[in-house]
Amino acid sequence: MLKKAIAMKKFLIVLLIITSCVPSIHPLYHERDLIEDQRLFGNWRNAGEGEFWDGRESWKFEKLPPKQGFLGSKTPDPLSGYLLTITEDSIAAEFVARLLELDNQLFLDIFPKSEYGDIKGIENNWLQMHLFPVHTFARISFENKAMIIEPFDPDFIIDLLEQKKIRISHEKTGNNFILTASTDELQKFVMKFGREKEAYIDPGLFTRM
């Protein structure tokens, strides 16, 4: 019973992170765009500045573990990336983070690891069938040994979509939006409007633990 309650809490954390951005079906990267930056590795704690951040989060970047193959075989992930563990109030969730550079800015593409399979507590097959993994994006930068994470502001994009002032492929179900634009289209938007301050929520300052 306690196990189930913990699993549901982890699931809600994932949902919270996802819904804090406008999720996308397609990633922001092509294989050729991916880069590695050694500065990311390690544990980072949020300083708790700004409206969005409360200082309870810690982000841990590690090397991606090999993929589980057929009959227990393990193969390294062919793409550059990081295993990102986000912990909030001792509850951890694992993601695959990919780093890319567009218009001289670094961006993170965050995707649930193993499409929810490794998220403990969500073992109910019926529940898993109702989930669809999505990508979220955040701008990332380093300043004086600190890491700054700036997720895209969902309100900014949703407002533009509702005012019919942005033309980007998307779907709307109820009050939720999901981007269906191709990677090329997403990159073009990021390259063209990725420097607008209004496009991001408050920057989250992370320091090494």
């Binding site: 533009l160 019919k164 002032k165 942005i166 033309r167 980007i168 492929s169 998307h170 779907e171 709307k172 090329d184 289209e185 073009k188 938007f189 063209k192 409007f193």
Partner: protein, 346 residues
């Protein structure tokens, strides 16, 4: 008339081009629409997309198509590729940079890659060029039809004018003869007047028809010869007809001017020895009309009477009614004239 036709062409052209751009707008909108419903931003995007193509499409029509018309295919192809590339480049540049100045507050990007934009541009240029070629083809056909009608009208007018020249000429000649006979108290003047009435009936009524039976023309020639013989009191013409004449139809008054000319130049005074021999041979395909007559010394075939029909008029009329299917020549041997006319079915 010309100005009205020109205005009508312009209006048709404008309507057709408007229709093309509306159709293009509709098709592009269906391609560009992002969701299930058409949003206002899709309409704006489609309109702007068309605006980036249109100047190049019309540059192609105005400046490049003349190269195509003059057969400079390679040069046309080369410059066309440049124009298509320039249009694609402009479209890309506009949606990457320019649109932010035209519509600040809107978030557009260039959604298509080079190949796709080139396809859109080329499609527009190709269809517009085809449209222009079809329009010009229709205009050309209409112009040809107009010219053909004008030609027909001109021919009709000339025919009427020529017939107008022939008829009074014949009438005055005959009346002169009648006048002479009455003055001389000829017993045959009554018969002469009846034949003249037959000839006039023919000239007035049948000569207005487009075509008459060859037999009617033969009857006219026979009456005319009889009138001429009555005038001179002795037979001076021999008229031979051979072959089947039944199915032939010809324009009226084709042979009479030639015969009239022969009598005018061939029978002078009261010489009994002067003879005119007329042969008309007919078969299914051809008509041979030959006249042989004597001429006086130093006489020329040129008609000297002012307002007379003249040989030039005869030739002109033959060219009008049998443009490709007649041969006409006059031979002169010693003191004889041979007038030969051959007509065949085309």
């Amino acid at each position: 008339m010309k100005s009205l036709a020109s205005d009508r062409n312009k209006i048709q052209k404008i309507l057709l081009h408007t229709f093309f751009w509306i159709l293009s707008f509709y098709i592009l909108l269906r391609i560009f629409v992002r969701g299930n419903e058409i949003e206002s931003i899709d309409i704006i995007y489609t309109f702007l997309f068309q605006c980036t193509i249109a100047p190049f499409a019309y540059a192609n029509l105005l400046w490049l198509k003349p190269l195509l018309d003059s057969g400079k295919w390679y040069l046309y192809g080369f410059i066309l590729m440049l124009i298509v590339s320039a249009a694609a480049g402009f479209n890309y540049f506009f949606f990457t940079v320019g649109v932010d100045f035209v519509l600040p507050g809107y978030y557009f990007i260039s959604y298509y890659d080079w190949i796709e934009i080139i396809q859109f541009v080329f499609g527009h240029l190709f269809i517009l060029t085809l449209l222009q070629i079809s329009l010009e083809w229709f205009e050309l056909n209409r112009e040809r039809q107009r010219i053909s009608e004008l030609e027909k009208e001109k021919i009709n007018f000339e025919m009427k004018a020529l017939l107008g020249q022939i008829n009074p000429h014949f009438l005055f000649n005959t009346l002169n003869n009648l006048y002479s006979m009455v003055l001389n108290g000829s017993q045959q003047s009554g018969e002469y007047i009846l034949k003249l009435a037959d000839v006039l009936r023919y000239v007035i009524y049948q000569s207005r028809q487009e075509a008459i039976l060859l037999e009617d023309e033969i009857r006219l020639l026979t009456d005319y010869i009889l009138l001429q013989e009555l005038r001179t009191d002795y037979p001076n013409a021999e008229f031979n007809v051979s072959g089947e004449t039944g199915t032939w139809r010809i324009p009226p008054m084709i042979f009479l001017p030639l015969l009239e000319n022969s009598f005018k130049h061939g029978i002078k005074g009261e010489k009994e020895s002067q003879k005119i021999i007329i042969n008309l041979q007919v078969n299914e395909r051809e008509i041979f009309f030959k006249i042989q007559n004597e001429r006086e010394e130093k006489e020329t075939i040129r008609d000297k009477q002012p307002g007379g029909i003249g040989m030039e008029n005869i030739k002109r009329r033959l060219e009008l009614v049998f443009p490709e299917n007649h041969e006409f020549n006059i031979e002169e041997r010693e003191n004889l004239f041979f007038t030969n006319l051959k007509i065949w079915k085309s």
